[in-house]
Symmetry: C2
């Protein structure tokens, strides 16, 4: 094993224009993805690279906060840092000054996520393995030491986490087959908000042809009729076997959400995503009761494990869309995945990383935590900018083999 | 009335060292208060000034975000801007890019608060009146137009807000007496976390001597015995008539909170403040049930009206500590105060502004919304830096008479 001690931290502001309305939804009308990147330079030749997503403006803010946290990051060998990363993470998250800008949410939490992801990347690269392989090689206590489980004491202690992983170990061999078959994907790009019907038709046909069996449509128009018409069209195009999901990007009031969900009841919609404000747990509780058996997915704007626990405890979420570029990186993603396993809920990540890191994490979730291998969102628009872009064939993510988290970007 | 059109927006990073452990609590061990200040320069000789609190590091981040929002603020006469400020506020809060750093929380929301407060300051100065007088002069529909009530449709529409204010108008004259008597204060500075017993004794004696009849103590030690001992000591010093509040600044697990609350049950504690993580609604529900009739106060880390509504709807908060330097300024403070009135809960602001703006807002809450005139937190440590520092005598805030929000700082 090589030695790597962090000697310098660099924040990079990288932005990528999208074409022709890609990336647009009911709230985000600008086609730009940006990454606040952390690079960890070491005393050796390795460099750890992590990132979080933003939508352009504000990316510089996250970069400045990465620099602020960088000064607080212990400059020790990476193996030493990761041996008790849960404590490291908690100390950074509870910095007495920066904490005021959160706590555990918003720009400070995004910065912490970028740094955390870079630490995991450096760790995996130091061991010369892809992230999924590193995580599969750790013992349950080693996994538990990666996690800041503070404020989850009632639901998930370190002992609980270890016991859960020990229990799943019995059936783990069976689940390792996923490494051969690849993890199923779903196509989130057939129906961006600004796409017209013609493009929607073309994309749906193309996605089915490429082997996807689950498609997502952006809704949340001021004009509910548009949403209903497009959902109906997509069901016709996709046939009755294909899973269809609707994503309202928080644009509805509870009443509007109820009305559209009622109107599409016969379309067999697999989930309704982000129907209303992401902090409004009680409205999601009410909606869930009203639209059952249709189910609710959310998470891309749920900032931390404590909020997720509240959503889960109230029955306000059915598909946990945790995102390691919204939560405090890989480690809080794992904490939320453990919680979800405890509550019997599937984790279907939102992919602020375009799936690059999450393709590793869903393998871990399935093999080690026993989560169902449902499917992982796929967004291809900026894949050419990654050094090792995720490969999806026949609708499945190929298991990545390069060392690290697969989120390193080509130089600008 | 003078005309004022905003022509230039300036963000200022102001920091103030506190002395001898003042300002310290269980999570914030550094004695520094900082303000991210917005100055609105106009085509006339008036300048609007708003602020939000931070704890030093990160204040520059909020200032940069103020600059980002400044470019998006309509440059129109202040009367025109405020005529539909609810829409202005919503447009800024839902900026398609910056929204990703929230939404409606964290550094972006703090920046929006600073700008909003500056707009209200400029408006009041343009009319030549203190904020409380401006707000008391507005009609209920004019007040309602100041508010972004999106995502509250189920609880509080514009019509609901107007109806509530109309109803309270009948008994308003009676409540206007508060303008003569002044609003009661409580002393939050007797028991900062790092103060030793001797200082606690001196401060308590001094506070009682100055007319305060409510005192607060910082708790949340790793060592519960210290908290219990200090609370017992303070009760002895203050006598049985004085109200005592404990503030744990989020440091406890649910179990720890239950244990300390049980241990101080005989001390007749008026509220326990921020017992655990500020996003953990369900733990506050459980604690409230367990420690009844002791009650829970929180709000300084509740970022927006939607989260407050969830706390209220679940019975997880009893004293609503809304803060116009945490929420999106004066206008979202009013929205939360309306919600609290609807839920029958008192508003006792947390004063990130050191009470300078809130001394106006509690008068509005009492006179126009019919809230009980309970008491307002008082923190004197940096009063000398304000142009018009709040005056407290015989334990009551004197009604301010200078035009504006009273939060303008002396030049550095």
């Amino acid at each position: 094993m090589r030695s790597s001690t962090i000697v310098r931290v660099e924040a990079q502001d990288r932005r990528f224009a999208l074409e022709g309305g890609a990336g647009t939804d009911a709230v985000h009308q600008i086609s730009e993805y940006a990454f606040a990147v952390t690079n960890l330079f070491t005393d050796g030749d390795l460099c750890g690279s992590g990132l979080v997503l933003t939508l352009g403006d504000g990316n510089d803010i996250v970069c400045r906060l990465i620099a602020a946290y960088a000064a607080r990051l212990p400059k020790v060998p990476i193996e030493e840092l990761m041996a008790n990363f849960g404590t490291v993470s908690r100390n950074l998250a509870d910095d007495p000054s920066l904490r005021w800008l959160g706590p555990h949410k918003g720009a400070v939490h995004l910065a912490l996520a970028s740094i955390t992801n870079a630490c995991f990347d450096l760790w995996a690269k130091t061991r010369g393995v892809p992230l999924w392989k590193l995580l599969l090689s750790l013992t349950p206590p080693e996994i538990a030491n990666l996690l800041d489980l503070s404020y989850l004491e009632g639901d998930l202690t370190q002992d609980d986490a270890i016991a859960l992983m020990n229990r799943e170990q019995e059936t783990r061999k069976h689940r390792e087959r996923i490494l051969e078959s690849g993890y199923p994907g779903y196509d989130t790009s057939v129906g961006w908000f600004q796409y017209d019907d013609r493009k929607l038709r073309e994309n749906a046909s193309d996605a089915l042809h490429r082997g996807f069996r689950a498609l997502k449509l952006k809704v949340g128009s001021a004009d509910a009729a548009r949403d209903i018409r497009r959902a109906t069209l997509l069901r016709e195009l996709a046939g009755s076997e294909c899973k269809l999901m609707l994503d309202a990007n928080q644009q509805w009031t509870l009443r509007q959400a109820e009305q559209v969900c009622e109107a599409v009841r016969d379309l067999n919609i697999y989930w309704i995503e982000e129907p209303t404000h992401p902090d409004d747990i009680e409205s999601h509780v009410q909606l869930s009761r009203k639209i059952s058996p249709m189910r609710v997915a959310l998470g891309e704007h749920v900032p931390n494990r404590v909020m997720f626990r509240n959503f889960m405890a109230r029955g306000a979420v059915h598909f946990v869309q945790a995102d390691c570029t919204r939560l405090a990186g890989v480690s809080e993603f794992i904490a939320v995945s453990l919680l979800a396993r405890k509550y019997g809920l599937p984790v279907v990540p939102h992919v602020g990383d375009m799936g690059q890191i999450h393709q590793h994490l869903v393998l871990f979730n399935h093999v080690v935590l026993g989560h169902e291998a449902l499917f992982l969102e796929y967004i291809p628009h900026i894949r050419k900018h990654f050094v090792h872009p995720a490969r999806v064939s026949s609708g499945r993510y190929e298991t990545p083999q390069d060392a690290g988290l697969s989120c390193e970007l080509k130089t600008a």
